[in-house]
């Protein structure tokens, strides 16, 4: 009898130890994941550092050499892009690259998630609807453009000389403010660095370099700042770093 009771006690103890081990094993894994994912807090709003040309245009381009593509290790989303916006900012078209890693608690509308290097994107927001297109993964320094050359309200998006997306009709929105944008969705530990070298505007006579470049009113990043090297070459760098 004693031997049977001891054996039963031994079996029950082993089950309890196994349950405890299961707890510890899964808990350990979760704690590791939580440490990795929660060292960065994804913001409920975005931070942007933006520059603007003094004159509007029917197209915005960075070309020769172009926009630098940074393959940073990010948890939340980030973007480097060119814009054309109307003055009330209710309508815009945007082209550039973005990252939005899988399995975080942040998502860009329409674009979906990424894994690995930054990806090409086009985005259109009319205030009454939005649309987007995704492209290939990117690296290095590439040219990007967005334009409505004949001002028919339909915008064409280009990358490295190839047109990859045509927008739905945006009606009378056929020109606007020209901007660059370095954007992040994470806290100050996440990068927002960007570089645009070779900024051009499009008017009725064709492409010409940006002029009178200044930091736009939409810049609101507390940890990164604008660096205007020249009218057609701007960068976004971390605070504490000088131009």
């Amino acid at each position: 009898m004693i031997g049977r009771a001891a054996r039963r006690w031994f079996d029950e103890t082993r089950v309890a130890v196994a349950i405890l081990a299961g707890f510890m094993m899964v808990g350990g894994v979760l704690l590791f994941q939580m440490h990795a994912a929660y060292a960065v807090t994804c913001l409920s709003n975005l931070y942007n550092t933006t520059d603007e040309a003094s004159a509007d245009g029917r197209g915005n381009r960075v070309f020769g050499p172009g926009m630098r593509i940074y393959n940073d290790n990010v948890v939340c989303g980030r973007v480097s892009s060119l814009f054309v916006k109307n003055a009330t900012e209710t309508k815009f078209v945007e082209v550039g690259w973005y990252e939005d890693p899988i399995d975080t608690n942040f998502d860009y509308q329409c674009l979906g998630t990424t894994s690995g290097p930054p990806e090409l994107f086009a985005f259109v927001d009319t205030g009454t609807g939005y649309a987007c297109s995704l492209g290939e993964t990117l690296s290095g320094v590439d040219s990007f453009s967005v334009r409505d050359q004949n001002q028919d309200g339909v915008w064409t998006f280009g990358h490295e000389g190839d047109d990859f997306y045509t927008s739905p009709d945006l009606g009378s929105f056929n020109s606007g403010l020209l901007r660059t944008n370095g954007e992040r969705a994470g806290n100050g530990n996440e990068p927002a660095r960007s570089e645009f070298d070779g900024l051009d505007r499009l008017d009725s006579s064709g492409w010409s370099p940006w002029q009178g470049t200044f930091e736009a009113s939409t810049s609101d990043d507390p940890d990164f700042h604008d660096c205007i090297d020249s009218d057609h070459h701007v960068r976004v760098i971390r605070d504490g770093t000088t131009c």
Partner: protein, 212 residues
């Protein structure tokens, strides 16, 4: 027969594995981070704490044009080179408009408190208003085509494009070579009634009973 029998040792190992799995499952349910379920969804390029540029434009404490400035109506008309259409005072409860002008884009917009703002944009030289509204309604799958005072119009109820898109009712109407867009917190039918009262200062003066 032999194959169907489990030895006591195998049974104990199975019980241990099952116990560990149950323990792990319970631990997962208790410890899994809630944040991975509740996601944040953002439109790229809309900065800072701007929930929606349209709602910001309806907030009188915010600039209607972040890179523009408030001007007199006559100054705005002189700058853009066309007459500005405004609703009748009765349609906006006598509210005096804020008129904003952007020298960078040569655009003008008007705001009536937190209830209404209006954008004005000249059509491109080859654009026909009725055709443009029809193409946009088809492209974006929202709204209703109609006429207001004999002018082509496109009416878009709030949330017609999905949750919060647009956040308020929108009425496009074409007058004097302009695409005039009204954004307002009322129903799209009421906003169309406001649009029906749009006129320029010159038209008001010429109307019976209008002041010179």
């Amino acid at each position: 027969m032999i194959a169907r029998m489990r030895s006591p040792q195998v049974g104990r190992i199975g019980a241990l594995v099952a116990a560990a799995a149950i323990g792990g499952l319970i631990a997962t349910m208790v410890l899994a981070p809630r944040g991975s379920v509740d996601g944040i969804s953002q439109v790229p390029g809309i900065p800072g704490d701007v929930e929606s540029p349209i709602l910001r434009a309806l907030d009188p404490s915010e600039p209607l044009m972040p890179s523009g400035k408030q001007v007199e109506l006559s100054q705005a008309e002189e700058n853009v080179g066309y007459a500005i259409y405004l609703p009748s005072p009765q349609a906006v409860n006598g509210e005096t408009p804020e008129v904003w002008y952007s020298s960078a884009t040569n655009e003008v917009a008007a705001r009536f408190g937190s209830e209404l703002f209006i954008e004005y944009a000249p059509w491109g030289k080859d654009q026909g208003p009725a055709k443009e509204y029809a193409q946009q309604a088809e492209s974006w799958h929202v709204g209703q085509l109609t006429e207001i005072g004999g002018n082509p119009a496109w009416l878009i109820p709030a949330h017609a494009g999905g949750d919060g898109v647009p956040p308020v009712a929108v009425v496009h109407v074409s007058m004097g070579g302009l695409d005039i867009t009204l954004y307002g917190g009322q129903s799209v039918e009421d906003l169309a009634q406001v649009a029906a009262t749009l006129s320029t200062g010159a038209q008001k003066s010429a109307a019976p009973g209008g002041s010179a």
